[in-house]
Symmetry: C2
Subunit: 480 residues, 2 copies
């Protein structure tokens, strides 16, 4: 009760203070507000009527296609990104060397349930997990033991697991409203499942595809082998076939499964991040970065993941130039290499930024698909968070309702060390994990307006940060 009365007195003081502050500042604030609203409207209008991101994405998907690190397509994408940004006349365009893993899938995988009691041989849809070792042409045949999680695996122990193929079959939780949360909850099976299984003597691993859909498409993605355990072959199976296998195992726990994968890890190769820059007029040595990863999985065209983010990021700078906007800080579009199976590009960018003492006040990433934007995930100190949240009235007319503490993006995460405010474009992700890392991630499933709206959302936030800065913890002072 005492506390409440104290609070009430505070309210009284605050109200008076606020009242006179508002009287003094309102005209100036209103002018700034109107100018900002106008600029944001110009950004949206430019992109929605003249935006080039969609056609650029078509080119990247259809003429280059899937571009896994180390592949000829990844090299072609680097050249494409560099030439495009040069053609747009950005102030600086450069490549940043980075050594990346070179994993190749080889021949298409095959798999079948060998001797189900009732049904005989049944072919199933699989894909090798990224970075996994292959079985080679001799394939792998074994009994299957199904588990839902590592706890069940541990309970079974070496006795029940050794010599078998472990089948991780915990579905993504459909009741999660944010599909990214469901992905997070199920992801350990793919990332760590093979090594966890190897710990108990398993000879191979089947992982239920991390997908929100029930269909026949397997979804790949990186697995991470522990250094001190045997590396065993690992595949993802489509959700339909995971259900089928699970059903058949109930009928016949002794059934056998065969799969053949031809993937292998080759020596690291030289690749590049691609960086384009509009140099700041007032603070040329302070950077705001907008970016995405240029590499993609090989099963499709990497349209949503992350071709969308790539063309959106380039579009931000193209739009500023088209509108004749002279930024105060240097603004960079960064196309990171190797997010999918290594993050070498993101790490290298942060290393180089630190080496050159480049102060990065903010970094925005778009890497959850070119869907309708809903706001931003904010990973930063409280003062920066509040500052961005104070811009809500400027962003809500564009259906950007979410300005919350949350995840940003993998590629920009290494910049956290220098105190950069990290921001993730937050989009409607209901469809994302239906096609993520599968053969379905092609240009045709990207919607032009949704893609452009995401780019406009990022450009609007970059503009506001460029105008008003963010409290940068690197030096403790407010950047303006």
């Amino acid at each position: 009760m005492t506390i409440t009365i104290k609070k009430y007195c505070c309210l009284l003081t605050t109200t008076f203070t606020l009242f006179f502050t508002i009287l003094g500042c309102s005209t100036y604030a209103q002018q700034k507000n109107t100018r900002d609203a106008q600029m944001i409207k110009r950004i949206y209008d430019e992109m929605l009527t003249q935006g080039e991101a969609y056609e650029k994405l078509r080119y990247l998907c259809k003429n280059i296609g899937g571009r896994l690190s180390g592949s000829p397509q990844a090299a072609a994408a680097v050249t494409w990104g560099q030439q495009l940004m040069e053609a747009y006349g950005f102030d600086t365009v450069f490549l940043q060397e980075v050594m990346v893993p070179h994993w190749v899938r080889g021949e298409k995988e095959v798999a079948h349930i060998v001797n189900s009691r009732k049904h005989g041989k049944i072919e199933v849809n699989i894909t090798a997990l990224g970075n996994a070792v292959g079985t080679g042409p001799e394939g792998l045949l074994g009994q299957v033991i199904e588990v839902k999680n590592f706890k069940e695996l541990m309970a079974l122990g070496r006795e029940k697991v050794a010599g078998k193929i472990v089948f991780f079959n915990r579905p993504m939780d459909q009741t999660q409203i944010q599909t990214g949360a469901a992905y997070g909850l199920a992801g350990d099976q793919r990332r760590n499942g093979p090594s966890q299984a190897a710990k108990y003597g398993a000879i191979g691993t089947i992982v239920r595809s991390l997908s929100t859909a029930f269909d026949d498409y397997p979804h790949t993605g990186t697995t991470v082998y522990a250094d001190d355990l045997p590396k065993i072959p690992a595949i993802a199976i489509s959700t339909n076939d995971a259900d089928l296998l699970s059903d058949l195992l109930k009928e016949d726990p002794a059934l056998q499964f065969y799969f053949e994968t031809h993937c292998e890890m080759l020596p690291d190769v030289l690749s590049y991040n691609v960086v384009g820059e509009l140099t700041g007029a007032t603070y040329p040595d302070e950077y705001i970065v907008v970016g995405a990863h240029l590499d993609s999985w090989d099963l499709a065209e990497g349209a949503h993941d992350d071709g969308a983010g790539v063309v959106q990021s380039i579009e931000v700078l193209r739009t500023f130039k088209a509108l004749g906007y002279q930024p105060r800080h240097s603004i960079r579009a960064v196309l990171y290499m190797n997010e999918e199976n290594g993050l070498a590009g993101g790490r290298q960018y942060a290393v180089q930024a630190a080496k050159k003492n480049e102060k990065h006040i903010a970094a925005i990433e778009s890497d959850i698909g070119g869907f309708t934007p809903r706001g931003f995930g904010l990973e930063m100190n409280e003062a920066s968070l509040q500052k961005i949240q104070s811009w809500a009235p400027l962003l809500q007319p564009y259906d950007l309702h979410k300005l919350e503490a949350g995840e940003s993006g993998a590629d920009i995460s290494p910049l956290k060390a220098q105190g950069t405010a990290l921001i993730g474009l937050s989009v409607d992700t209901q469809r994302y994990f239906d096609m993520h890392h599968s053969a379905l991630d092609v240009f045709e499933i990207v919607n032009r307006r949704e893609l452009l709206l995401g780019s406009a959302a990022m450009a609007s936030l970059v503009y506001l940060i460029d105008q008003y800065g963010l409290p940068y913890p690197g030096n403790g002072k407010q950047t303006e």
Copy 2:
């Protein structure tokens, strides 16, 4: 300044009042809040894991298909809807007779640009507008005059228009963030263009498809002939071909255009609204309606428009039954017939409700596609609006951020006369007008989770209205 001080005193009083009110009510309010949050979570969990709307939509689209009023498919859809709701065991299921227009498209339309100077004959993609008269097998040949709006048409006058085909070519405004707003701004061309053109002696009308996309698909939709003007044939042309025609007209203003449509309006036929009900335990004579239209255009399967709304509405009642929820008010799923080219079903429902003195406290419609829901458009008195807005904290965890005064839905609009609170499910509409009324509106473009989330949003709001009522202006008192 005086006003401000007065306001400040008000704030003081309000704060004290609020403070003691909160002390007294907080525990009860918290309990209700927790109970409501739990119920909403149960609704979402049930639908996202056991929801049947998606598979029911597959049946409606694939086994019945497009179902224009008066067609055999519309009759089949009526039977399907009735049988499904009976199979679900709703307390009451009945058909409501309604006479509907019976327009038939006949043979597929053909059209070409006849004698463009450079290119000769060019086939283009068209579709007859709904309710339009046809040209018959002899077709229609004429010079084309392009206008952007009725003002330009009027300025040209009879002298320049008579004997020609008027080409309305104003695109949907891409800069509108809400595509529905752009549709509204461009829609007069299709609805009233033919009669406006006829006023000046035109012999036919070509309307640029109301689409946000640039492609080869023509989009149909109703045109409304004025009673006192000649009815002239009217078609929509794909956006790509509209641009082509416009370009060719610049080269050769005298080019001719030929089209052939075989549509005609037949005598009205008997059809039905389909109504399913869970009868209220406390207020059986007070109704909350959730609905959508059962008819669709004939060019595709009416998947988003409005098969989605149909299966979502049925799913709301199925879920309440599955959860063992006993509603206090009677809750109805209403499948209206003939929204697309007449609204006879919506009108009839309101007429019957008035005749039987059925008090409808709220009506919710889903008719802008089965996309991710973002909230609700609220068309009601201020007290009801505020009451619904007070539930925002319960809805925001499900990404329902929009609770704003706005449009609701065509089918429920006739209930406005009895003071019913009208509510439209508000969804992400960026993709809607790419496929709306075109051959693209098929089951495959509906996403299962997006569809189910829309249904869960509606069920959650129905639940809250059922629990707490809405101020119903029919009798001035608060329904509880």
